[in-house]
């Protein structure tokens, strides 16, 4: 077995090369991929601090001016408030719908569970464009004007599959016998949930909620079709991007980026914890 470990592992390129080459090839590959993924991120953050208004090299100096400009844009506060509201509503409602659904799923026989789980993931398989259009037409048909509420519904639709996926993964290994025992001992369903169930699943629930928030804050396409004249952060950024170079947009984006990153890190840390 030790011999196996030391043997050069094969990679897609073909037969095993010498150990060191393959090892370095692997490292370079991963490094290039990460570079590729992070290049736009680095560009965005970097040019939110440079003095050049043209978003190109050479870098002459650093400044926080763009952040000041971004924050003094009156639309920014509106967009920020709206995005936060949307994120909160999305998180609460999608967990509120997704948690009972996941419980229900966990209790079904395998034959019903598989298809139903797949079915709940279908909205994620439909292009956001079609989702947005369908919702826009739907709201027009029932005479509801575009705005924050239709946008919220769109966000929930986008987030729900992922919330269900996350919670379902957790509940698959949930020990329901504990609940039965509590029942037998006379505890009401509410008390059972509050005192037993929720503390156990709380990390996953929070993780799913944070995931829903992140999805909502970054959501653009479906929002664009349903939000009408209102602003959300992505909608605002889109409008600004259509106007030409403005490093203030980079500043705005960097702020959004960091909040999303924080949310995602928290979400994954929480999802993995088991209390």
């Amino acid at each position: 077995m030790i011999g196996q470990r030391a043997a050069p592992a094969t990679d897609r390129a073909g037969e095993a090369g010498s150990g060191i080459l393959s090892r370095w090839a692997a490292r370079i590959f991963v490094a290039i991929v990460l570079l590729y993924l992070f290049a736009p991120v680095v560009v965005t953050v970097l040019f939110s601090f440079t003095t050049s208004p043209r978003l190109s090299l050479p870098i002459e100096g650093l400044t926080l001016d763009w952040y000041g400009q971004a924050f003094s844009n009156p639309l920014f506060m509106t967009a920020l408030t709206n995005s936060l509201w949307l994120a909160l509503v999305t998180a609460v409602v999608s967990v509120g719908l997704g948690l009972p659904f996941s419980f229900g799923l966990a209790r079904l026989k395998d034959r019903a569970r598989g298809p139903l789980l797949t079915a709940s993931l279908v909205p994620a398989a439909v292009p956001a464009l079609v989702l947005g259009l369908a919702l826009a037409v739907f709201f027009t048909t029932i005479h509801v004007r575009p705005g924050l509420l239709p946008a919220a519904i769109g966000h929930i639709l986008v987030a729900l599959p992922f919330v269900i996926l996350t919670l379902n993964a957790r509940l698959e290994t949930f020990d329901f016998t504990v609940l039965e025992a509590a029942r037998d001992l006379g505890a009401s369903p509410i008390r059972t949930f509050r005192d037993i169930t929720f503390p156990i699943i709380r990390p996953s629930v929070l993780g799913a909620a944070l995931l829903a928030m992140a999805l909502s804050i970054d959501e653009f396409v479906v929002t664009w079709f349903t939000i009408g004249n209102q602003q959300s952060l992505p909608v605002l950024i889109w409008g600004l991007l259509r106007r030409g170079i403005d490093p203030a947009v980079n500043a705005l984006a960097t702020v959004v980026l960091f909040s999303l990153v924080v949310l995602v890190i928290l979400a994954s840390l929480l999802s993995r914890r088991r209390s």
Partner: protein
């Protein structure tokens, strides 16, 4: 796991199911019905015509855009999935200890803002952008490469960057269910290199790879933001842009837009089915 009487389960499934039916099922249904109506002036008139489908599919321009979109999406997915596969493999079997960190980094790049990442590629790929400046200074080229920006290449390069993390997740998830012992046993038995992957590993992660392909393909085909920002005059129209235009009031034709949406959905399903069959065939031989 104890199975409780399903009756209680239905009550718990009901709210989310109702939400899906009302806000997903019905809107899609309405869109489908709309695709059989007619556009007259500024309103849509109820009808039962296949005219939109016929008109859409026989219009040379629309078909060209549709085919071009499928091609771009296919090429993008075919680039993304193998890279994601290799990345997932390396993360699981080579850099095990840092697998979580790497996955975390990938996730972070995923959530760093959809719009802004796209726009940042303009700065990277532009004629006076970072890439050209770097290549010029390194002496690798004499003139800036102008074909990198505002072209189908720009669209593909950006899409690959956006979709790679998304494709990585399902493959990574599948790979984590594959035990090292299994792989090592196969190696002991003489399977090596490409053969190892094709006959041993790939069949085991096939669901993940299939999902990754579906995600990459569907998202690439349906995107209209990337072509708008980076496509320019030569790569700027994919089917997403075309459909969106039919819902703008100045050249509105909702039924046609709806019909095209369903054509696209149908095509996506077909391509997905074909590719997964293909994958299964490859991994069985």
């Amino acid at each position: 796991m104890t199975v409780r009487p399903p009756a209680g389960a239905w009550r718990q499934l009901a709210p989310a199911t109702a939400f899906y039916l009302v806000f997903f099922g019905i809107p899609l249904l309405i869109l489908l019905v709309l695709s059989f109506w007619r556009q007259e002036g500024f309103t849509q008139v109820p009808d039962a015509t296949l005219g939109n489908y016929a008109g859409g599919l026989t219009n040379k321009l629309y078909v060209t855009v549709l085919l071009r979109t499928i091609l771009v999406a296919l090429v993008t997915a075919l680039i993304v999935v193998p890279i994601a596969y290799v990345m997932a493999y390396l993360m699981r079997f080579r850099f095990e200890r840092r697998a979580n960190l790497l996955l975390g980094l990938v996730l972070i790049s995923l959530f760093s803002g959809y719009l802004v990442r796209i726009y940042a590629w303009r700065t990277i790929l532009g004629t006076e952008g970072l890439l050209n400046t770097a290549l010029l200074q390194l002496g690798l080229i004499a003139e800036p490469i102008t074909a990198l920006i505002f072209s189908p290449w720009a669209v593909m390069i950006t899409l690959v960057g956006l979709l790679l993390p998304l494709a990585l997740l399902p493959i990574s998830s599948s790979m984590s269910n594959v035990s090292r012992d299994h792989v090592e046993a196969a190696r002991d038995l003489g399977s090596n290199g490409l053969r190892l992957h094709r006959t041993v590993l790939l069949p085991m992660v096939l669901p993940g790879v299939g999902t990754a392909f579906a995600i990459a393909f569907v998202l690439a085909a349906g995107d209209f933001v990337v072509p708008t920002m980076l496509g320019g005059a030569s790569g700027g129209t994919m089917i997403g842009n075309l459909i969106t235009n039919f819902f703008r009031s100045s050249s509105a034709d909702w039924p046609l837009g709806a019909a095209l949406s369903f054509v696209v959905l149908a095509l996506l399903v077909i391509v997905y089915l074909v590719t997964t069959r293909l994958l299964r065939w490859v991994s069985r031989r």
